[in-house]
């Protein structure tokens, strides 16, 4: 893919090395394996619910691969497991949110450079803008990476975020995964005009649509976007066109709003398969590599499952402990009453 941002010199645009392509595949395999397993965990009663990202591995792994954990900060929705995994977040801590252990997940957001899991659609897009403006104010080089969906793009907060960011030239990459659906509503009845990226021009900022199932294209677009932001040019919109192959969540029944035939046709080619073919074509990997990658993914999933199964409920006192940095007498009284009443029982 050509760079869409003239400001970005070709310097940083060296093609990915074979090793990096293999790493991308390994990441996507790990994510695919964990993702499909998590759906199974739900069926087995290990976790009460999960929002699969089947089909979005290239969009998530490719974008997060361009992220610099030394400087940047990412703001996920509830569907960014592949982003978390690529960033190196503790996956038991991450998946704990789906076990109903703690809303937002149990990983340390500051150390991970990943904001807590966000369940409000478009809830964190403005946070990314504020964080990014903070970088400008303190003269730091960080870039905020804001994830959201095609459905989320309808929320007023996204508009306010893009306008604020553009007015303040805040270093934010607005990264949309347009996966064709917001639960049961297809993009064409959600996104007037058909493209979130096309909205960027209205704010005087660059926007691009990228093939979201091509991990290399996603990586390059995001890398260029980061470079654009880091150079002080303000925000960028990147819209990765992909497809939600699974249900919205384990509680959803896609059969009510789309047929299996539609799914097959609209989903296009599996992003993992595409990368596999590319690796084979350029001779960067062989069957042994793929077998090893899949085996590693299996082992990883097992360890995470073990961790999740071992995860007990949090002590009830934490309900009270984390409300404030400085608790209040009224809340302390409630905690005391709660403790007495739980012991009484």
């Amino acid at each position: 893919m050509d760079s869409f941002l003239p400001a970005v010199a070709a310097a940083d645009a060296a093609p990915l090395a074979s090793e990096q392509l293999r790493e991308l595949y390994s990441l996507m395999a790990a994510v695919r394996y964990l993702d499909t397993s998590a759906v199974a965990w739900q069926r087995q009663g290990i976790i009460p619910g999960y929002a699969p990202e089947l089909g979005q591995e290239a969009a998530q792994v490719g974008s997060a691969y361009a992220f610099d954990t030394a400087h940047d900060f990412a703001f996920p929705t509830y569907r960014e497991m592949g982003v978390a995994r690529t960033m190196g977040v503790d996956m038991v801590a991450y998946m704990s949110t789906h076990k109903a252990t703690w809303h937002g997940g149990m990983y340390d957001p500051l150390a991970s450079r990943l904001a807590p899991i966000q369940a409000v659609v478009a809830g964190s897009v403005l946070h990314a803008v504020g964080w990014a403006h903070g970088q400008t104010l303190s003269g730091e080089p960080g870039v905020a990476l804001s994830y959201f969906g095609d459905g989320a793009s309808s929320q007023g907060d996204v508009h306010e975020a893009m306008n604020f960011a553009a007015v303040m030239k805040a270093p934010v990459v607005f990264f949309i995964q347009n996966n064709g659906w917001a639960i049961s509503v297809p993009t064409e009845r959600q996104v007037a005009g058909g493209s979130v990226a096309a909205r960027a021009a209205g704010y005087g900022i660059p926007g691009i649509q990228v093939d979201g199932n091509d991990v290399v294209a996603v990586y390059e677009a995001t890398r260029d976007a980061f470079a654009h932001c880091r150079a002080g040019n303000g925000p960028v919109v990147v819209e990765a066109m992909t497809y939600r192959r699974g249900p919205h969540s384990t509680a959803d029944d896609p059969g009510r709003y789309r047929s299996l035939d539609d799914e097959r046709i609209d989903a296009g080619k599996d992003p993992l398969e595409r990368l596999r073919e590319r690796l084979l074509a350029v001779g960067a990997a062989d069957d042994a590599f793929f077998a090893a990658a899949h085996q590693a993914a299996r082992i990883e999933e097992e360890a995470i499952r073990t961790g999740i199964e071992a995860l007990g409920p949090r002590p009830g006192t934490e309900m009270f402990d984390f409300v404030f940095q400085e608790t209040t007498p009224a809340l302390e009284n409630q905690a005391t009453r709660w403790r007495e009443e739980s012991e009484h029982v």
Binding site: A100, T101, V120, S154, P313, M319, E341
Partner: protein, 348 residues
């Protein structure tokens, strides 16, 4: 027309004999779905919409089949924006429609609060009665289903504080059916809070006779103490009352139903008799609707109250994740302990 609150103390004795002949067993989901179907059939100005309300039939299937039956212009999906949904409702009402929008979950009413508070609740007033807002906003509400964050909230105190809104919450399929039909037939905006944890519980619905639809309802008469509740807490209070009965404590359970206007008369009558009250809700304690209920009781029963009204509620903490849900929502033990505190109260 003024709503009556006096004739509301129908007791739990919905005539079982008559009911048998005219009633059907429905879940609350089915009862609400049927009510919407009938409303759409009866009133051509009604429109039902929200996120995933059309083809999918809503994430809780409350609007299931309605688009197929009534058409895409009467029942439709909107883009994903709650302020949009409610703001659009205002315009539709101005054009003479009777909108029945849905916000998908309680917590997603917050993005629409500006339109609800500053527009829906005030347009009749602002326009000096020329632009009524016959909008029934359905909000799947309260907790108890181990859902993600923001899917277990109780916003009744907020809504009840807003001048210009009426607020109601049914606790069983029968009331769900009739209160929804009633709300949708009124010319003022009603926030209709559906206890989502009760959607799948079945109950007898007498479709031909809803009884009195304004005011509170005594679900279980009793002599020693009044338990005031609404939504999903009503069923829990009934369990509590059965347990208390084993200890010889005769608890009256009052389903408040209307959270605005509150049926002060029903509270006064019940507690005037029992002389003791506990109010139960899922929302946090401070500035919750329990404070209003307690104060209304104290005002009317000050001379005869044997103990201060007790509140058993959620804590002043964000609604927790599934694992801690049962610690947060008033459980049977906590309600029983609240009852005990009231019964054991002795003037110092």
């Amino acid at each position: 027309m003024s709503e009556s609150t006096t004739a509301t103390l129908e007791t739990a004795t919905r005539n079982e004999a008559t009911t048998k002949t005219q009633s059907t067993r429905l879940s609350m989901q089915q009862a609400l779905n049927r009510a919407l179907d009938e409303i759409l059939s009866a009133d051509p100005r009604t429109v039902v919409f929200g996120e995933d309300c059309g083809q999918l039939g809503g994430v809780f299937r409350i609007t299931d089949g309605l688009q197929a039956k009534h058409g895409e212009s009467r029942v439709f999906d909107t883009p994903l924006a709650e302020s949009g949904i409610l703001g659009m409702s205002v315009g539709l009402a101005m054009a003479g429609f009777h909108p029945i929008p849905e916000v998908q979950f309680d917590g997603f009413a917050y993005p629409a609060i500006n339109q609800i508070v500053c527009q829906i609740a005030r347009m009749n007033y602002r326009s000096r009665g020329k632009l009524p807002m016959p909008i029934t906003l359905r909000v799947p509400s309260f907790g108890g289903i181990r859902a993600p964050e923001h899917h277990g909230e109780s916003l009744e105190a907020l809504f009840a504080h807003v001048p210009g809104l009426k607020v109601v919450s049914p606790s069983d399929p029968h009331d769900a059916y009739h209160l929804l039909k009633y709300a949708a037939s009124r010319p003022d905006p009603v926030i209709f809070m559906e206890p989502k944890s009760r959607y799948w519980q079945k109950g007898d619905v007498d479709t031909s006779d809803g009884g009195t639809l304004t005011g509170a309802r005594i679900v279980r008469p009793g002599r020693h103490l009044t338990l005031v509740a609404w939504g999903a807490m009503v069923a829990r209070c009934m369990q509590v009352a059965e347990l208390a009965a084993e200890d010889g404590i005769d608890v009256e359970v009052l389903d408040l139903r209307w959270l605005k206007p509150i049926d002060a008369q029903a509270l006064a009558t019940s507690v005037g008799k029992t002389r003791r009250a506990v109010v139960v809700h899922e929302a946090p304690l401070t500035s919750g609707l329990g404070a209003e209920v307690a104060q209304l009781i104290t005002q009317s029963c000050f001379d005869t109250l044997k103990a201060p009204v007790e509140r058993v509620t959620g804590f002043d903490v964000p609604y927790p994740s599934g694992d801690l849900e049962d610690e947060y929502i008033p459980n049977i033990d906590r309600i029983l302990l609240g009852i005990q505190r009231v019964l054991e109260y002795r003037r110092g």
